[in-house]
């Protein structure tokens, strides 16, 4: 009874915290203070990840709660005072088979939606546009191979460079820009060490490995700015190479492309890749 009360209390506390925590500074595309769960979804894949995670959370909470309940029952019923003479049971074939078979069934129950999600993530559909993200110590460079010969660097804004409302350690000078509701094919590589390109709201994370090209995809369903951080330790300033993706309307995207072609054109001085490698040389 008291256990039940305590669990109800805990559940109420968690609900209260969820209620109080989530909407505070509810930034779509970035974490909120005291957040408990995954970031809000802005892509079909992330919606499925959230569903699958919630599904797993019910199962694992039930399992952990079951083990806790068993331990409490054991401690209450079979302590030395309550049960001074121990039983001599050491085997029970039926129960041993049960606790082998039932977990297998639970795992099979988990595996079905797990594979569905995995195939959704890894089978890259025919894309509307491709963005190449190159991880460098310690910033990202983006190029749009379908949309012209330009590449630009995206560096974290330092203290004093940020405008009002831009989040610390997440905001960058030049965001990656993509159109809303389009299938975006992301290819990544690393130019020095391994980095990892991650945007939590889109449910993507893919390593940027030197000598390899990796791919993933997303469809952003809402306009806005979505933040992520480098997710593979890459040296001193690993914490300071965020990823920012600005999702805009199709018209705005076309306009941005035209603008970017001029702004980041390769004939404007050195090509930016050469700049990047020149920066690395003195090391």
């Amino acid at each position: 009874m008291s256990l039940l009360n305590r669990m109800t209390l805990l559940a109420m506390m968690i609900i209260a915290m969820l209620g109080a925590g989530e909407p505070a500074l509810a930034g779509l595309g970035q974490p909120s203070p005291w957040q408990l769960g995954l970031q809000e979804s802005a892509s079909p894949v992330m919606t499925d990840i959230i569903w699958f995670h919630d599904f797993l959370l019910y199962i694992i909470t039930a399992i952990a709660g079951f083990v806790l309940a068993l331990l409490i029952v054991v401690m209450v019923r079979f302590n030395a005072r309550a049960n001074p003479i121990p039983w001599r049971t050491t085997h029970n074939t039926l129960i041993e088979i049960a606790w082998t078979i039932i977990p297998i069934m639970i795992l099979m129950f988990i595996a079905v939606p797990s594979f569905k999600l995995l195939f959704l993530q890894l089978n890259v559909p025919a894309a509307d546009l491709t963005v190449k993200a190159t991880g460098k110590q310690w910033y990202w460079s983006y190029s749009y191979p379908d949309n012209g010969e330009f590449e630009f660097d995206s560096l974290m804004l330092k203290d004093g460079e940020r405008k009002e409302g831009q989040p610390r350690l997440l905001a960058v000078d030049n965001e990656m820009v993509v159109p809303v509701n389009k299938i975006v094919h992301v290819i990544t590589t690393g130019s020095d060490v391994i980095h990892s390109f991650a945007v939590p709201s889109f449910g993507i994370k893919i390593d940027a490995v030197p000598g390899r090209i990796n791919e993933t995809w997303f469809t952003a369903t809402k306009e806005g700015i979505y933040y992520g951080q480098c997710s593979e330790l890459c040296g001193k300033d690993h914490a300071f190479m965020p990823i920012a993706v600005r999702v805009v309307s199709e018209q705005a995207f076309s306009a941005w492309i035209e603008d970017a072609k001029k702004k980041y054109a390769r004939n404007e001085g050195l090509p930016s890749t050469a700049v990047a490698s020149a920066q690395r040389l003195p090391q």
Partner: protein, 534 residues
């Protein structure tokens, strides 16, 4: 069991005394004691590093470290020290050395001199790791900041200074030490069991050590190979892991995790054995499903070798490969479940006494379950896409190691301390230590699940401001566990000063293994006449 010869110290004089007794030691108990003392030192250093990290992460912004390189050096050293210089020496070198010969009725380990070199390689290895903290790693900054996983190319071109070389040589020595120890244990357990002690009568702690040392024997050489290739890539112009020369950084990850995943079972399986002994002792009831328990450990060890790439779901592996590793990884939950439920079943119908070792063991069973079920979440590549390299992973592996393995080490410490020292520890101090640690570590690591879910990456010295709340909570928890550690050291000192004799068997009828038939502490040489197991 009733024909045990009690050596009454007639041979106490024919061994070296003073520092020679330890430096030259070939005695499994003295070597075990040195391993335990070494693990205490390692735990102290590793623990101070972790509190340093939590101090930095308590508030957003950089407070204590002037750049995040040094913070990454702390995470790297914390990981390596806790694994190689705390948990492994405590569990295998310490309790394994002490208790395996006593439990199987053997006078000593099979190769006593090799036992000596196994131990003495460790201080040398530790020294090399400490040196690595003071020589250049990343350009212009001392220490290895590549994480305990030392992924290439961050550990090759990313660390031009010699710090990584020192760390590699340190790991080589630690690995050699473990392999020698493993050979010693395998030989001892296979050949030196007392008459009548068949494999299926061995205590589960001995089974757990046997499984563990096989994992060491098979996994450590792979690490040695990988880090040797790293060493030659760094110094002799080979390009195993360098794409420009035809190599591949992912080769290092595959080799590393082929070692690394069995390694995490190396860290926890001896704990399974200890918990089995302790639960049976304090329930005054034999272990439920002994054979299932023994072979569950064998199964966990075996499957542990074919799941390595679940650490690598985001590196760009094909769908089929990821699907395979999802299934293989989830299979491990089955034998693990068998163990959890068998411990509960051992207690079911028992007559439980909540002495300090039992508190740690019960705490372990619950917290390991929590860490285990988040492992099932992470096993699914689909959702791991969101959680890989976040604090969710940090929370998961600290639940199974910091709250799992370390809880079993403390359980074993309190369980065998009376046997090893001859003195009884103080129950109130032991219980205070347990509750402070239990509360502290849960406050440290439970909120880290929330941080990970909301997207906070691992291994960062400064984080976006939204993560401030749970980081503050987590840091406060680490100070509470730090106080718990002080209570532990005080308790050890207190027990040695109080000198309350423990007697041969302080735990009563539940303690049925052979070590409890010997005096506390056991004589320098035990079993002058081998015990006969009925």
């Amino acid at each position: 069991m009733d024909t045990i010869a009690k050596a009454h110290g007639e041979d106490q004089h024919d061994h070296p005394h003073g520092w020679r007794r330890y430096l030259y030691s070939t005695n499994h108990k003295d070597i075990g004691t040195m391993y335990l003392a070494f693990a205490l030192l390692g735990g102290l250093v590793g623990g101070v590093l972790s509190i340093g990290m939590r101090l930095e992460l308590m508030h957003p912004g950089l407070q204590f470290f002037h750049d995040s390189h040094m913070f990454n050096v702390f995470t790297t050293a914390h990981g390596l020290i806790m694994i190689f210089f705390m948990v492994m020496p405590a569990m295998i070198g310490g309790f394994g050395n002490w208790m395996v010969p006593l439990m199987i009725g053997a006078p000593d380990m099979a190769f006593p001199r090799m036992n000596n070199i196994s131990f003495w390689l460790l201080p040398a290895s530790f020294t090399l790791l400490i040196i690595s903290l003071f020589v250049e790693g990343e350009p212009g900054a001392p220490g290895v900041a590549a994480g305990w996983t030392i992924y290439a190319p961050l550990s090759t071109t990313g660390h031009p200074g010699p710090a990584v070389d020192f760390a590699i040589l340190s790991l080589h020595l630690a690995g050699a030490s473990s392999i020698l120890g493993a050979i010693n244990f395998i030989t001892t357990i296979f050949n030196m069991r007392a008459p009548g002690m068949t494999m299926h009568k061995m205590p589960l702690f001995v089974w757990s050590q046997l499984v563990t040392v096989f994992l060491i024997l098979l996994a450590m050489p792979v690490l040695a190979g990988a880090i040797t290739m790293l060493l030659t890539d760094r110094n002799f112009g080979t390009t195993f892991f360098t794409p420009s020369g035809g190599g591949d950084p992912l080769l290092f990850q595959h080799l590393f995790w082929f070692f690394g995943h069995p390694e995490v079972y190396i860290l926890i399986v001896p704990g399974f054995g200890m918990v089995s002994q302790i639960v049976a002792t304090f329930a005054r009831k034999p272990v439920f499903g002994y054979l299932g328990m023994a072979y569950a450990m064998v199964a966990i060890g075996g499957i542990g070798f074919v799941v390595w790439a679940h650490h690598m779901y985001t590196v760009g592996m094909s769908t089929a490969v990821q699907a395979y590793f999802v299934v293989a990884t989830m299979v491990i939950a089955v034998p693990t479940g068998v163990k959890i439920f068998s411990w509960v079943a051992t207690m079911w119908g028992g007559s439980l006494e909540f002495k300090t070792p039992m508190l740690w063991a019960i705490g372990f069973i619950f917290l390991f379950t929590v860490g285990g079920v988040t492992g099932v979440v992470l096993a699914n590549a689909g959702v791991d896409r969101s959680l890989q390299d976040t604090y969710y992973v940090v929370a998961h592996f600290h639940y199974v190691l910091s709250l799992g393995a370390v809880f079993t080490i403390f359980a074993g410490w309190y369980y065998w301390f009376p046997k090893m020292s001859g003195y009884m520890y103080s129950e109130p101090i032991g219980k205070l230590h347990f509750w402070l640690t239990f509360i502290g570590v849960n406050i440290v690591f439970f909120p880290q699940h929330f941080l990970g879910l909301s997207g906070m990456p691992r291994r960062i010295a400064d984080y976006p401001d939204a993560f401030a709340g749970w980081n503050l909570v987590s840091s406060i928890g680490s100070y509470i566990s730090g106080v718990g550690a002080l209570v532990f050291f005080f308790g050890v000192a207190h027990a040695f000063m109080r000198k309350q004799r423990a007697g041969d068997n302080p735990w009563g009828a539940g303690a049925t293994t052979l070590e409890w038939t010997l005096p506390s502490p056991p004589p320098f040489h035990q079993y002058n006449e081998l015990p006969l197991i009925k």
